[in-house]
Symmetry: C2
Subunit: 232 residues, 2 copies
DNA sequence: CGCGCGTTAATGTCTAGACATAACACTTCC
DNA sequence: GGAAGTGTTATGTCTAGACATTAACGCGCG
């Protein structure tokens, strides 16, 4: 009947009192010594529970001052998750397909930050055979030489990279743009129609791996995220 | 010269080898006994290091089978932080001001999910006196009755709510839209110019608090986020 | 009053053990 | 050959201590 370890139970008890509002931000939590007595266990066990809560940002611990319930971040910001296109489409119960529209290998421009040679790809992603995303992508052949031989008609570049070149850092940029002629044609929109552009740049150990610009028809696509501040 | 605790050093050593690609996903990490010998410390110390890595999702631990480097989530997704407008503007070193363009109190529509009565606000946010965001917002007077008396010319509605009504759940929706006539006028754009729209809906204990639609000129604004998967 | 300064209360780390538990490997018995 | 039991290995939890570190507190002194 043990089920859950004691340190988890202690952390859970405290988390519940924080979440319920019984212990408000700034409230000083009983000391480890008091909790040790209350639960009749060793201090390390209580300490582990508190460390876990601290690591998750629910409490702030300071020597001598004790442990207090954390204040939520001052300028509360929230998060939006950026999904991989294939899983996004399949998550909506649609059939995912893609078409490779263009592929060339060329020298990299200096300001692309992708080494000496790149492969440049244009891909159209479809959901139930309707255009969903128009993607332009550069892959550094210095960072990922195997990309030159990869078959991007079988697997879209994003998926291939995910499997072959795990990244260590990424930058995302979300903006709204009017569709240019080529994009509009690919997505079947009027010139200048509002579109959501997601730019993504990834590095591996400081070396640029890929740059991608993914353009979604504004009318058809939303990035949505539900978020609750207390759950890590 | 101690500086960093031993368990952190151990975890750091292992994290480095994972990040560098030396230990790829699926690689079996030395057992606690081996690491204990290598670092000449107690098993609990190694165990703590491994627990931390496990909690952060870098490794997967299984009894008897040992500890292996985790596979990155099948469909890797990343995160974008959504900042509060005022801190966003000030973070760019610009002067933040705002103008209240409209304020009415009216019965809530049923599908707004904001109770019986709402206050409806239109606010223009400026950065260095240039239009930056056009915001339409509804605040539930059932959830936040004090809002009826608040002075939204002194403090923008977002800031007021942050201070008076902490939320427990939020939903965000990012999309691209063409500016309608009113928005275009407010932001000084041409009709139909591409804009980034951020819709935000928040709840407190299941009760709807506010809904906001913030429209950024597409050309002037990007949501940017840098992200690295290994750092919590 | 306020400025140092020692005291001490709290957390942070670590140890050397102990027993529990899960899962795989192997043997035994039918 | 298969099912059931048995051993082995690695992680999971816990204990009862020890010493380190930090910073709030209070006291005394000028």
């Amino acid at each position: 009947m043990d089920q859950e370890p004691l340190h988890r139970r202690i952390a859970g008890d405290i988390e519940r009192r924080i979440a319920s509002g019984e212990w408000r931000p700034g409230f000083r939590i009983p000391t480890e010594a008091e909790l040790t007595a209350e639960y009749g266990c060793a201090r390390m066990t209580v300490s582990r529970a508190m460390s876990d809560l601290s690591a998750r940002g629910l409490v702030v611990r300071r020597r001598r001052a004790g442990t207090v319930v954390a204040h939520p971040p001052v300028h509360s910001s929230a998060l939006v998750a950026i999904p991989d296109i294939q899983s996004e489409v399949e998550g909506r119960g649609l059939a995912y397909t893609h078409r490779l529209l263009g592929r060339i290998v060329r020298p990299a421009l200096p300001d692309e930050g992708l080494g000496e040679r790149v492969i440049e790809l244009e891909t159209l992603h479809l959901a139930d055979d309707l255009p969903f995303v128009f993607e332009r992508r550069l892959i550094s052949l210095d960072a990922a030489p195997e990309a030159e031989a990869a078959d991007f008609t079988a697997q879209p570049p994003g998926g291939w990279l995910l499997a072959h070149m795990p990244w260590t850092e990424a930058e995302h940029r979300i903006s709204a743009v009017g569709a240019d002629r080529e994009t509009a044609a690919g997505l079947g929109l009027a010139d200048g129609a509002p579109c959501l552009r997601l730019e993504r740049r990834t590095w591996r150990d400081g070396q640029g791996v890929t740059w991608a610009s993914q353009i979604f028809p504004g009318a058809a696509y939303d990035l949505v995220a539900r978020f609750s501040p207390t759950k890590g």
